[in-house]
């Protein structure tokens, strides 16, 4: 049964050094606040899992939290490279970063297998691609009916999955809508699930015309933390838009190791929580 906790406690309770952690989100509802809290708590040696590692993963990697990345597309969407991710892969800074690389279809299938209690997931995929040569977790099996070659991937079962959602009620039932990516699967596949939300309300109700409403009952969630704006600079449909300027400006911050270090020290490690982080941005190019 989900506990309602302050974010600091929720992360301290759920995320341990060496864990496999998925902070999921597909452009929408990226759990930035939770990612910052992991940086603040100086977790180390994490295996980070995500289909689309973006700026928050760039920050986690640059801040030295991760030793491995499981992913299928790593970039700053619409802007370009993730410089901290590239620096870790290309130069081993701040430490080496092992890669387990997939295609989206494979990772989505592996998450769904994890959520389904299956040891592996099955897809028509990777045929002819070099990815299986560099990722030994991708195997091929033969269909027992048609003889076709199909890809088989071990289920993804994170120690911890973290997502951001629009709402929870006071019992910890969670509601999200819009682009929900693999968040449901990530939560159901994980041993421990932490959810940050825009608001905790008396009664869960979706706004009129909200597309693709997903509900996660409280008994599949370990903790819920209310963090208003906790997906900034990504967006929360119905709450605030994506701050595209931040994503573009991030390119400048992340290009240089010293600039990045100074930014993380000042704005993340040097702030007590996400609200203070937001205030610390005032007057900087990355402000709202």
């Amino acid at each position: 049964m989900a506990q309602i906790l302050p974010l600091k406690e929720a992360i301290a309770d759920a995320v341990r050094d060496g864990d496999t952690v998925a902070l999921e989100g597909f452009t929408h509802l990226i759990p930035f606040a939770a990612g910052h809290e992991i940086i603040r708590q100086r977790r180390r040696n994490l295996t980070l899992v995500r289909m689309t590692p973006d700026v928050i993963y760039d920050q986690l990697i640059g801040a030295g939290c991760a030793s491995k990345l499981v992913f299928s597309w790593g970039g700053n969407p619409g802007v370009g490279s993730l410089h901290r991710l590239r620096d870790a892969v290309e130069k081993g800074w701040p430490g080496p970063l092992a890669l387990e690389e997939h295609a989206h279809a494979g990772m989505a299938t592996a998450y769904a297998a994890g959520a389904s209690g299956l040891p592996f997931g099955l897809l028509r995929g990777y045929l002819g691609s070099d990815l299986p040569k560099f990722n030994p977790t991708i195997k091929f099996i033969e269909c027992p009916f048609t003889g076709e070659r199909l890809a088989a991937l071990p289920a993804i079962r994170p120690d911890v999955s973290v997502i951001h959602a629009q709402k929870a009620d006071r019992k910890g039932n969670v509601m999200l809508w819009g682009v929900t990516g693999v968040q449901k699967e990530a939560v159901l596949a994980a041993r421990r699930a932490v959810v940050t939300v825009e608001e905790i309300v008396d009664r869960l109700e979706a706004p009129r015309h909200a597309p693709n409403v997903v509900i996660l009952p409280n008994w599949v969630v370990r903790s819920v933390a209310e963090v208003k704006g906790g997906a900034f600079p990504s967006y929360a449909l119905g709450y605030y838009p994506r701050n595209n300027a931040f994503y573009k400006q991030w390119d400048h911050v992340a290009r240089d190791r010293d600039t990045f270090n100074a930014w993380i020290d000042r704005h993340v490690r040097g702030t007590a929580d996400f609200a203070e982080f937001r205030r610390s941005l005032e007057g900087t190019p990355l402000n709202v």
Partner: protein, 267 residues
């Protein structure tokens, strides 16, 4: 006489990127279901929807089906995609039921490198373990390339992009040519056109080797050969791409102006 058919005045300048986007957009059949990547493919697909193919169903891998954005999304999961979609589904469903399910007519891909059989690389330049450039990776491309009934590829022409040998095969086009796709039992028929800023390449019906079939206005065949890192096959008859119409250009420019304005800050 409708706007559509107003020819561009001969002296109206347009960029090579505009020509590429417009040439790609023209390949979209009205009513087709399109699986669209971010960047050039998204611009071309939306241009098609806003011009000759209003009933085109645009699908982004974020799970948005039948989306009708007013500005181009910066990311593949922008709020506007969700808000203007006929339906939004989870990403595992998108890949399983919609893409792998074989119901997408046309996949629209970009690439960092391409070879003569339209195989593409979006993973690394250089050695995988010691890359000179780490690219974003596969995303949805391998299965878009495998499962869509047909695939279009758009990228800018240069010897660094059109290479003799890919540093990494991310997604297969026609594999090693001929019946390479059939041998792998890939469901779709693979890339049918590669649209660049210089012209249009089409796989030879037999060998599947990319062949220059059209050059954009003002481009000559030699220029395209020089921009290609292998000895490029050229069709016996190379046509010249029709220049942008006034309507195409103004719709594209309006779209990009709206987009630039929207992405300047929050969007």
């Amino acid at each position: 006489m409708s706007d559509e058919t107003v020819p561009l005045k001969p002296d109206t300048p347009y960029t090579a990127d505009e020509m590429m986007t417009i040439a790609a957009a023209r390949m979209v059949r009205n009513g087709a279901a399109l699986f669209v990547g971010i960047g050039l493919p998204s611009a071309a697909a939306n241009l098609a929807r806003l011009t000759h193919a209003p009933d085109t169903v645009l699908i982004y891998e974020s799970g948005t089906i039948g989306t009708k954005p007013n500005v181009l999304p910066l990311s593949i999961g922008d709020g506007e995609l969700a808000e203007t979609a006929d339906a939004v589904v989870a990403v595992p469903e998108m890949f399983a039921y919609w893409l792998q399910g074989g119901r997408i007519d046309l996949g629209f891909l970009g690439a960092a490198q391409i070879d003569r059989f339209a195989n593409i690389n979006t993973t690394v330049i250089g050695d995988y373990h010691k890359p000179s450039t780490r690219l974003p990776g596969a995303g949805g491309a391998p299965e878009i390339a495998a499962s869509c009934k047909e695939v279009l590829i758009t990228l800018r022409h240069s010897p660094r992009a059109f290479v003799e040998k890919l540093d990494f095969i991310t997604s297969v086009g026609h594999v090693d040519g001929g019946d390479g796709r059939a041998k792998l039992r890939l469901p779709g028929k693979g890339p049918t056109s590669v649209i660049t800023d210089l012209g249009i390449l089409t796989p030879d019906p037999q060998t599947k080797e990319l062949t220059l079939t059209s050059v954009h206005p003002g481009v000559d065949v030699e220029q395209v050969k020089k921009a290609t890192g292998w000895p490029l096959e050229v069709a016996p008859q190379v046509s010249t791409t029709a220049p942008p119409t006034g309507a195409e250009l103004s719709v594209l420019r309006d779209l990009q102006a709206r987009t630039a304005k929207a992405h300047a800050g929050q969007a």
